[in-house]
């Protein structure tokens, strides 16, 4: 079945990929590059890895998530993250306040790492996705270096950890619950939304479809 499409060597070109074939990234098996019906997933028959999904609305959704990330991140950084009250006093703090306070303490390397994992890398990933998908959506053809930007977005995914940070916040709330009363502000909910968007984006994104649109 595959043999019929396999090149015999004479029609191999260095500039173009072998037409009509797709390789499973997990097990290297070759398959005919069929397009699944809308809403379907095509899996590698050998190792069950997803080869391709087809959801026409998915790219729009991914683009919407990417565009929503910067404003939500702005809220998450500047608005009140938590309010602590006890003994008649109330104190509010945002993530920026926390960063300022920590900048002068000797724990700044830890704060820097956390800032990268929950702010810088998710933001960079969203910008890279928007850079790739927006021109395509507007019908202008792929942006310059779109392939590089999309690879960056794909590689950054495991390192963007907003959802894990939220579990950390929950653990802290329990740990300090005996010491003071803490309430969560809009910045916290902004982080919750960011984490939810990242998860939905993961589910919607079919990397192969984006690669097809880039070249």
């Amino acid at each position: 079945m595959i043999g019929a499409i396999l090149p015999d060597g004479s029609n191999l070109s260095h500039a173009n990929p072998v037409a009509g074939l797709i390789a499973c990234r997990t097990c290297d098996a070759l398959w005919r590059d069929d397009r699944p019906a809308p809403g379907e997933r095509m899996r590698c028959p050998r190792c069950r890895a997803v080869l391709r999904t087809s959801r026409p609305a998915a790219l729009d959704r991914v683009l919407a998530f990417a565009l929503a990330t910067p404003p939500l991140m702005a809220i998450a950084l500047t608005a009140s993250f938590l309010t602590l009250s006890g003994g008649g006093a109330r104190q509010e703090a945002s993530v920026i306040d926390a960063a300022n306070a920590v900048a002068h303490a000797n724990t700044w390397p830890l704060a820097l790492a956390v800032g990268a994992l929950i702010v810088a890398l998710p933001l960079l990933r969203a910008l890279a996705l928007a850079y790739v998908l927006l021109p395509i959506r507007l019908g202008r053809g792929p942006a310059r270096r779109a392939a590089r930007a999309f690879r960056l977005a794909v590689e950054l995914r495991p390192w963007a950890m907003a959802e894990i940070f939220l579990i950390g916040v929950a653990v802290v709330l329990v740990k300090v619950s005996g010491l003071a009363s803490v309430s969560l502000g809009p910045a916290f909910w902004s982080f919750v939304t960011l984490a939810a968007l990242a998860l939905m984006e993961d589910a919607a994104l079919c990397e192969r479809s984006v690669w097809d649109l880039i070249r």
Partner: protein, 216 residues
Amino acid sequence: MRAQRLGSDPLTAAAVVTARESGLIACTTCGKVWSPEAEICGHCETPLITRPAQGLSPVWAWLVAGILLYIPANMWPMLITRTLGREDASTILGGVVELTQLGSYGVAFIVFFASIVIPVAKFTAIAVLVLAVRHEIAMSQTRLTHLYEVVEFIGRWSMIDIFVVAILAALVQLGFLASLAPGPAAACFALSVTFTMLSAKAFDTRLIWDRIGETK
């Protein structure tokens, strides 16, 4: 045993042709298939390698680094609390015990799972995967692939405790809490998790499936 398993599978070695067997190179990023002379995928610009030249050494190297750092991460204090001149240092496990003493069993379980169970399971799983490439292991390729997917998916969740320590440290700086500081274990643990993630990333799952061809 392996042959039997293959025989019962409708997709036997004969039915599947890999890019390598066909003398082609597949891109591990976008799945496009190239002639063997191509060095970089013309589609997504990923360097093309039919199989990693250094074999499994990068996987082992990151794994060993991760395991070595995990030892001080558990021996040294994660969090140091100073109250009224008294210094109290708690390790990762000590923090879990404290949480159970607070009666927060759910949260204690989450921290225990993220900081102890996941890292140890991940070290073991990566070692199993690497060994399965060279040695006969009583697990099917499909199960090994699943194992890899689980390792990739779950590894990041170990970072929970790092976020907890960082938030607590920030609360102290903001004057919300009494004196408290991250201990040396925090850096070791964060690096251990990072290195294990890099170890999993360096593993090429195609190596698991290559063995089917060899037994033909």
